[in-house]
């Protein structure tokens, strides 16, 4: 079974991403949306935990529309995180068996 995890809270304000990463395993994809996109940037206090999760086989994606809204440059996101649009969001949901929303 594969799971798509969506995280919509900033990792600097809530612990949603931490909890998500502690439970997401190999074959899971974590999609950062809304305020959660802040975690996608390089050189932040959240970067290491995302890199560690990648090492465990967790895939990462970030919603480009939410990056743009917040003025966060897509060329400064962590290597290995793919930028998707709303269509890509739907595709990810369809490609996984289940969706877990970390509200």
């Amino acid at each position: 079974m594969s799971t798509l995890h969506t995280v919509n809270k900033s990792p600097f304000e809530r612990n949603s991403l931490d909890t998500c990463l502690s439970l997401a395993g190999n074959g899971s994809t974590v999609l950062l949306i809304e305020d959660g996109v802040a975690g996608a940037l390089k050189n932040t206090t959240a970067t290491q935990s995302i890199s560690d999760a990648m090492g465990k086989g967790v895939k990462f994606a970030v919603l480009g529309e939410d990056l743009s809204a917040r003025g966060l440059p897509a060329d400064r996101i962590i290597d290995g995180i793919s930028v998707v649009d709303y269509t890509g969001f739907v595709q990810l949901a369809a490609d996984h068996d289940n969706v877990q929303s970390w509200l």
């Binding site: 809270k9 304000e13 305020d35 743009s68 917040r70 003025g71 400064r76």
Partner: protein
């Protein structure tokens, strides 16, 4: 008789995910009409409010980031950005809008409204406030 008080607005939330940032900006603009001393502080995720190049077409929300540039015209020209918050988020002052005002006491010279502050300076600022408003 009017009394001038020092109003400090503390902004700690990212824009768009919640309504706090927009609400704060609206209250600041309303408050500016009452000719009080106004200081804006951007700390924690509040620093995201000031990023340049915000484009909200994709999310279908109103882009209110351009309004910050108008603050100088309302005599809101004391804007403090927490250095530690920027650093934790992989950001620097170069990622933020350059907010300015025209100094009427200096032949309307254009000057920066923004100051990078450390936690010690921020603590002093909060300590000196007459009114604290949090968003």
């Amino acid at each position: 008789m009017s009394v001038t008080k020092k109003f400090v607005y503390i902004n700690r939330k990212a824009p768009y995910g919640t309504v706090y940032a927009l609400e704060s900006l609206e209250v600041v603009l309303i408050g500016a009409a009452f000719e009080q001393e106004v200081q804006l502080v951007f700390v924690d995720d509040g620093v995201y409010q000031l990023t340049k190049g915000q484009s909200t077409e994709g999310v279908g929300m109103k882009n209110f980031s351009k309004t910050y540039a108008a603050l100088g015209d309302y005599d809101v020209n004391q804007i403090y950005v927490d250095e530690q918050s920027l650093k934790e988020r992989g950001l620097s002052m170069d990622d933020l809008q350059a907010l300015t005002y025209e100094d009427e006491d200096d032949d309307w010279a254009e000057k920066s409204s923004m100051q990078l502050v450390n936690r010690e300076q921020l603590a002093a600022l909060i300590g000196d406030a007459d009114v604290l408003l949090n968003f």
